[in-house]
Amino acid sequence: MAITAENLGKHFGDVEAVKSLSFHIEHGELFGFIGPDGAGKTTLFRMLTTLMLPDTGSASVLGLDVVREYKNLRNRLGYMPGRFSLYQDLSVEENLRFFATIFNTTIEENYHLIRDIYIQIEPFKKRRAGQLSGGMKQKLALCCALIHKPDVLFLDEPTTGVDAVSRKEFWEMLKDLKAQGITIVVSTPYMDEASLCDRVALIQKGTILNINTPEAIVAEYGKPLFAVKSARMYELLGALRGFSFAHSVYPFGEFVHYTDSRAEAQPEEITAYLAGQGFTDAEAHSIKANIEDSFMALMESPSGQEIP
């Protein structure tokens, strides 16, 4: 096991940021913690990277206890915090060299690890980090986190605030790193990134809703799901909620995702109902759930909606 956590918990005042989590992450795995802001991802990462003491439970990374053996562990883990932690007034090269030096290594020694990423930003190596675009900052931050050849890499929301193209490139880099045997733990609020991980934990309000491969999670989705469409989106939502068999109704881009409380519902029944409501253009077809559908279904179950 690369990482194990047993009943790991942390609270700030009355707020339980992380509620007694237990999980295992294998060596060489690309593991994702998927959940919205405030789910406890950052707190969890800070405990695993020895930056915060857990209030309850224990965790070990690479067989080292995050509390007792933090000094040894710090030599072996790479961490990229939420906001790309770079020195804005230092150049690309100076940032990288600095992080290499404080880990007692040199850029040259581990250049093979970062080569594919670094050549993309090398043309700008004299530029100050503050003047880089979001995508380039992200790449530099990744290089800095990798330069000491860590055995496990923690990336806290590496794709937040970065455009779609850079996000895609970033995930490809992670795949390459995984191929080199580095265990990678990544957090993201973007559900669509779940499918890029080997396994994911869906996390919400400090608890893990489900933990599995992305395929298995969507396969567990219990109810028949339909994508419904009409030109009058807002009215369509209301009409579907008025349907007596409706279980859940959520807008989903240009469609509405609808689940029926009956096990054997047919799309024709839905269109027929909608036609009766004046939606003559309505279309419905059966679809497979995606991670976001699964996440919402898990959120709906017992605790329901958050009320301040």
Binding site: G35, P36, D37, G38, A39, S133, G134, G135, T160, G161, V162, D163, A164, V165, S166, K168, P189, Y190, M191, D192, Q204, R232, M233, Y234, E235, L237, Y250, P251, F252, G253, E254, E292, F295, M296, M299, E300, Q305, E306, P308
Partner: protein
């Protein structure tokens, strides 16, 4: 409500029109002769990579930045001469700046109402209605900082509609919000649009784009594509807006 929505978008009046709108900073052309129009009640997605010129374009449309050349009118007002009138008639909400964390919900509403010159009684009426609609009456005196992110976002959106603007500009409104709250947020947007408010959303998250009636994609200061999400996906033989965007923004890839 029924009547406004049955009209085809094309027949509605335009509330934002630009013609060859351009902004130059020294030698750098941030926005390069963009022309488009947005109809009343439309949800318009304004997409682009980091540094593509989205922010600059939006600053010109909200009257914060004077264009270098070209024409633009927003809510019937000229961006060159009537910037102050534009500000009175638009709402703005961004993920970064929305409400004052150290004030209560009611205090924030009163403050924004005051900024837009609403009378005391109007503010009181609207506060009640707004809290009722969001089911937040019990939290009237709660500090914004104590609210979950999702509630802040919904509240910020509602507050930016307080002065009944013709257009509301949203800057990455739902980043980082949980999927259910995010959908509740989009329902608020649909509701506003169905009442005739034009919604102008800038984002670089493609799943937000899927909710829009039409989207434009900016690359290097120019609008490279403008259509409904479905139209764009068909044109680029893509299954998601993400693929459309990647094709456009990085043609070589």
């Amino acid at each position: 409500m029924e009547t406004t929505t049955t009209i085809k978008p094309d027949e509605r009046e335009s509330v934002i029109t630009t013609e060859q709108l351009t902004k130059r900073f020294a030698k750098f052309i941030a926005v390069d002769a963009i022309s488009f129009s947005v109809k009343k009640g439309e949800i318009f997605g304004f997409l682009g990579a980091n540094g593509a010129g989205k922010t600059t374009a939006m600053k010109m449309l909200t009257g914060l930045l004077s264009p270098s050349s070209g024409k633009a009118s927003v809510a019937g007002f000229d961006v060159y001469k009537q910037a102050e009138r534009i500000k009175q008639n638009i709402g703005y909400m961004s993920q970064r700046f929305s409400l004052y964390e150290d004030l209560t919900i009611a205090e924030n509403i009163r403050f924004y109402g005051g900024v837009y010159g609403l009378s005391r009684t109007t503010i009181a009426d609207k506060t009640g209605a707004l809290l009722q609609r969001l089911q937040l009456e019990h939290a009237r005196n709660a500090l914004i900082s104590s609210l979950p992110l999702g509630w802040k976002q919904k509240l910020a959106f509602s507050v930016s509609l307080l002065h009944e603007p013709a257009i509301i500009f949203l800057d990455e409104p739902t980043g980082g919000v949980d999927p259910i709250t995010r959908r509740q947020f989009w329902e608020l947007i649909y509701e506003a649009a169905s009442e005739g408010v034009t919604v102008f959303v800038t984002t670089h998250y493609m799943d937000e784009a899927e909710y829009c009636d039409r989207v434009s994609i900016m690359v290097n200061g120019r609008i490279e594509a403008l259509d409904s999400p479905r139209g764009l996906k068909e044109r680029f033989h893509a299954s998601t807006m993400d693929e459309v965007f990647v094709t456009l923004a990085r043609p070589s890839a």
